[in-house]
């Protein structure tokens, strides 16, 4: 079973949960930017137990055309790219059976930025250091360590025995997207990212911390899988933003010498030399990974304990979906 790539969008890569465990040697984790949507897609495609492990395709801004060489089950989650199967519109967030020769077409994202295609059994490129995540900077993982091109053929794995068929309906809207708060600014709802105070918080002025909490930040066009770069009121340090380099994580909010924040995403370096005012909690990473250049976001401080609780709540959402699917299967029998 394989997927043939007929046309591609600006950036399509094979991703999974990331290449963790090698940070002390300088290897980036990479992996899906929106790991929540990736897992939802996997569950709906039948990769229930492996939802964090099975590799998926991550499309950025627009998709492209691809052909399935065999019967399989797929699912799409994340940004709505108006998917069509053999020219007929199909829904996101549901299990879809495909037959040999079927052609899936993904257009421009109408909301969000990144879409995830999961297939039963997962994308089966060779694992490099226990992960299939594509690290484009170092040229490893996924398809020869690079973004997909026209003509690429991706093997897929053997799907499990579980016959999952499920539709996340409108009533289950809360399940479709990762949870994060909003704040009303004027007559608009501003997505708010929850942060925990960062390791160099004291290096910043009181005004900087107030700005981060209150102000609105706009996503700049030079954002990528490494970092979302933001513009807005300056976040000033007391004595410069250079620090003795230390480890950074996905979500680290680094402030470079221009006083503007960047939120590190999946392809971030393992260490950095800029002061970090805060860390976006893992639960809210998908929210910023799905925002496009020009869109605005805000920040809100929470405690590490609240961050842990938010994470466990998100894990329970996925567990709930799996349970629903299992119950549905039982009822059918």
């Amino acid at each position: 079973m394989a997927i043939k790539i007929l046309t591609v969008g600006p950036l399509t890569t094979v991703q999974d949960f990331g290449r963790s465990g090698f940070g002390s040697r300088g290897y980036r984790r990479c992996g899906a930017c929106d790991k929540y949507s990736m897992q939802i897609a996997n569950i709906l495609a039948g990769n229930m137990e492996d939802c964090a492990l099975a590799a998926v395709l991550e499309f950025t801004l627009s998709g492209g055309k691809m052909e399935f060489t065999d019967n399989c089950q797929i699912a799409l989650a994340g940004a709505d790219m108006s998917p069509k199967l053999n020219g007929n519109p199909i829904a996101m967030y549901r299990s879809v059976k495909t037959k040999a020769g079927d052609i899936l077409e993904l257009g421009m994202a109408v909301d969000g930025l990144r879409t995830y295609l999961a297939v039963g059994g997962g994308i089966d490129t060779e694992k490099v250091m226990s992960s299939r995540a594509t690290d484009c900077t170092c040229g490893i993982g996924g398809m020869d360590g690079r973004a997909l091109r026209e003509g690429d053929v991706l093997k897929t794995g053997v799907s499990g025995k579980e016959k999952v068929e499920f539709v996340i309906t409108e009533e289950m809207f809360w399940l479709k997207k990762p949870s994060h708060p909003y704040r009303s600014v004027g007559n608009q709802l501003l997505p708010v990212l929850r942060v925990v105070a960062g390791p160099q918080e004291e290096a910043f002025t009181k005004e900087a911390r107030e700005n981060l909490r209150r102000e609105v930040y706009k996503i700049k066009v030079d954002s990528d899988r490494m970092a979302v770069r933001l513009e807005g009121p300056e976040l000033k340090t007391k004595e410069g933003s250079d620090i003795i380099s230390d480890g950074i994580v996905e979500g680290s909010v680094q402030i470079s010498s221009n006083g503007l924040p960047m939120v590190m995403l999946a392809d971030h370096q393992t260490t950095g030399g800029y002061a970090k005012i805060a860390t976006v909690i893992s639960t809210d990473i998908p929210a910023i990974a799905q925002r496009r250049p020009g869109e605005c976001i805000g920040f809100e401080y929470i405690t590490p304990a609240q961050a842990g609780e938010a994470y466990r709540k998100e894990v329970r959402k996925l567990a709930w979906l799996k349970k629903e699917i299992v119950m549905k299967q039982k009822n059918r029998k």
Binding site: V196, P199, I244
Partner: protein, 228 residues
């Protein structure tokens, strides 16, 4: 022993030691890393050592910040002062100058030394690997002889060949893979430092020392042929 523990989101904690780049501080980082790594696979998922800090990733389903903070504090207090057993010393053969180190001439001129003297000084001591970062296997080395301090290039190169050994300001290091960069290139190692195929293993780890060993161009070519 003084160190602060800071939260890094909901999945990691940072142990911050005295903020200076010095061997004694870095040794504490490595000593703590060793202790924390014993818990890997349980609550601890991964550690990332740096000059004067240790990032500890934990499993948020098995632990939380409050208990990690308590645990790390305890481990820090238990660290013994004084020298711990230091890491290995890894020899890195380097072909200095010529097309392998285009800036050797400049570095020599800047230092007011001959090329031979630069090579002798650069290869004449062992350098502690404080940390690996920026790229896989890129070592942040301490202890470059002051005479060799050379400013970075005004216009960084867009492509630096893998294995290049360079000097950037007060630091020296190796580019394990092809990359852009602004350091003065003084030589190149024939070793294949970046080999993700062998499970991400490197010839050296943070805490080891690197010794540069000058080799001839003939030796360089021979060593490259061995792995290519």
């Amino acid at each position: 022993m003084d160190a602060f523990i800071k939260p890094v989101g909901d999945q990691a904690a940072l142990v911050v030691f005295e903020q200076r780049i010095a061997e004694d501080v870095n040794q504490k980082v490595m000593a703590l890393k060793k202790q924390v790594e014993l818990l890997r696979g349980d609550r601890v998922l991964e550690t990332v050592p740096a000059f004067a800090s240790l990032l500890v990733y934990y499993d948020p389903l098995k632990s939380d910040y409050a208990s990690m903070e308590k645990l790390l504090k305890k481990l820090v207090t238990k660290l013994k002062d004084g020298k711990m057993s230091s890491g290995r010393t890894v020899e890195i053969p380097v072909c200095y100058g010529g097309k392998y180190g285009e800036d050797l001439e400049y570095v020599a001129k800047h230092a007011g030394l001959s090329r031979e003297e630069v090579i002798r000084i650069h290869s004449g001591k062992d350098y502690l690997i404080y940390m690996l970062g920026f790229l896989p296997g890129f070592p942040y080395l301490g202890g470059l002889d002051q005479r060799l301090f050379t400013p970075r290039l005004d216009n960084p190169r867009t492509r630096i060949p893998a294995g290049s050994v360079g000097i950037g300001g007060e630091q020296t290091g190796i580019y394990p893979m092809e990359s852009p960069g602004g350091w003065q290139l003084i030589g190149r190692t024939p070793l294949n430092l970046f080999s993700p195929d062998n499970g991400g293993k490197l010839m050296y780890e943070a805490g080891d020392r690197i010794r540069f060993v000058p080799i001839s161009e003939a030796e360089y070519k021979k060593r490259v042929a061995e792995w290519q």
